[in-house]
């Protein structure tokens, strides 16, 4: 199983990574493997504001629907429109082309409270 060393994680298998002043978020390699083929991603509206831990979307796999939890409080500033035509990117490249949303974080200290790669590796 692949773990992105630059990212931090929720126990529910979302990852988040700082990038150009924003945070990019997706689901981990472990999560995509457990879900199986992803066939649809229900993306939030750009501009929506969520608290940390809120359900911001849904990943539908051939097996089931799984809620997506936001790792950091903030505003959704971009969604990965590529997933509308190619949801399989979540399986193929979970830390790259399969990213799901970009967040403008609104609360200091939340990033530090997330699981680091070593802690997430032990969990998953």
């Amino acid at each position: 199983m692949n773990i992105d060393k630059q990212a931090r994680y929720l126990p529910s298998h979302e990852w988040v990574r700082p990038e150009g002043g924003l945070y990019v978020c997706g689901i981990s390699d472990h999560a995509q493997e457990a879900l199986g083929d992803v066939v649809y991603v229900d993306l939030p509206e750009v501009g929506t504001i969520f608290a940390k831990g809120a359900v911001f979307g849904v990943v539908e796999s051939v097996k089931a629907a799984s809620d997506l939890y936001l790792p950091l409080s903030g505003e959704i500033v971009e969604v990965n429109a590529l997933l509308n035509q190619g949801p399989e990117q979540v399986n193929k490249d979970p830390y790259g082309k399969g990213w799901i949303v970009k967040i403008r974080a609104s609360k200091a200290g939340e990033w530090e409270s997330l699981l680091d790669p070593a802690a997430y590796g032990e969990l998953s």
């Binding site: 083929d37 539908e60 051939v62 399986n91």
Partner: protein, 369 residues
């Protein structure tokens, strides 16, 4: 895993070849292998896949009363079958509601009935309860009988050098006995995928040998072949519109409601016929339809179906991403006035109505050979 779950003779093979084992109908079976559900589905549509379906039940019926007994118990006209033919049918309660769907094969020395794993005990006692005085002997031969399906456009090409019987001359629903890779097998040109192919019944102790021989033979000859899990089995049966017990059919549903009137010979006497005739005369109150979502989302079993104005009109019984069609689709029971192809509907997915349209079933038909 639950220790009460049964394992097929191929369990170790699945577990050591990437099979993700899950509980299903009292068995521990692979839901998928490494390639995943979508790729397994596509493999069957373009080449050939193998299905370990040993969990299915098989009964034999013998005795001078066998033909007339089955003719009374099964909705379709099975008494007219000749040796080497098979037919789909249903077992119904006197109310017309469905006990199970079955495949009946007529063989030289007996009648062979294939039933769903989840209904095996129920079906056997239902049949036994009606057998008194009918001069028949019923046997549940499921444990000794292995069942493997070989399905896909290249299925017969895969089998050809492994048998001395020309299987390609066997008509659809035809059946015969053949040696396959040295194993005596009862072979039906039947299946549950909408593709060409066969279902093999043979002695359970030959399961690993036959399975591995089929895979190796395909590999040697450049015929793409792989094992197929339950996930793809479901999407493969959905696209051509086959019913799955517990979804499109169950003890709450009649064949007429489920679009299976074609499998009911209402001109002969069978258990449930009177109720079906009465239902036909009175008109249906619900009807099975196929639908496609026309906006993003995946419908799931249990989702409420509404008219475009939000009035509830039915419920989804199967919903999925259909790989060959590349669409989110499903089956639903709806009020008959909403059942015509082209009728707009909404499917409520996690409290959000998503637009959908009724489509003609089956959603998928393979191109002619």
């Amino acid at each position: 895993m639950d220790e009460d779950l049964k394992r097929t003779r191929l369990y170790d093979w699945h577990a050591t070849h990437g099979g993700r084992m899950v509980p299903f109908a009292g068995w521990e079976l692979p839901v998928r292998y490494d390639p995943g559900v979508l790729e397994e589905h596509r493999l069957v549509r373009r080449s050939v896949g193998l299905f370990d379906i040993d969990h299915m039940g098989q009964f034999t019926v013998t005795g001078p009363g066998a033909a007339s007994f089955l003719q009374t118990m099964v909705t379709s006209d099975v008494a007219s079958l000749e040796v080497g033919q098979s037919r789909y049918g249903l077992l119904c309660r006197p109310t017309g509601r469905i006990v199970d769907d079955v495949f009946v094969y007529r063989r030289p020395a007996d009648w062979f009935v294939v039933v769903n794993a989840s209904n095996r005990a129920k079906d056997f006692s239902w049949l036994t309860d009606h057998a008194a005085g009918c001069q028949v002997v019923l046997s549940d031969v499921s444990d000794a009988t292995y069942m493997v399906a070989v399905q896909g456009p290249r299925a017969l090409e895969l089998l050809k050098p492994l048998t001395d019987v020309p299987l390609d001359t066997l008509p659809r629903f035809g059946a015969l006995t053949a040696r396959i890779a040295g194993v005596e097998a009862f072979v039906g040109r039947t299946g549950y995928t909408g593709e060409d192919g066969v279902e093999l019944f043979f002695s359970a102790d030959q399961a690993v040998h036959l399975w591995e021989t089929l895979l190796a033979s395909g590999q040697e000859r450049g015929i793409e072949v792989g094992p197929i899990g339950l996930g793809a089995r479901d999407s493969l049966r959905f696209e051509p519109g086959y019913s799955l017990y517990g979804h499109e059919i169950d003890e709450e549903t009649t064949p007429l409601e489920a679009g299976l009137g074609w499998a009911c010979a209402l001109d002969k006497d069978f258990v449930g016929r009177d109720a079906l005739l009465a239902q036909k005369a009175a008109g249906l109150t619900k009807k099975l339809v196929g639908f496609e979502l026309t906006e993003g989302g995946i419908p799931r079993e249990g989702c409420v179906v509404t008219a475009p104005d939000g009035t509830p009109v039915g419920r989804v019984v199967a919903g999925l991403y259909a790989p060959t069609l590349d669409k989110a689709c499903g089956h639903a029971f709806v009020s008959p006035e909403f059942s015509a192809p082209g009728t707009p509907l909404a499917i409520v997915i996690r409290d959000k109505p998503k637009t959908a349209v009724v489509v003609r079933r089956p959603l998928y038909k393979r191109s002619p050979l």
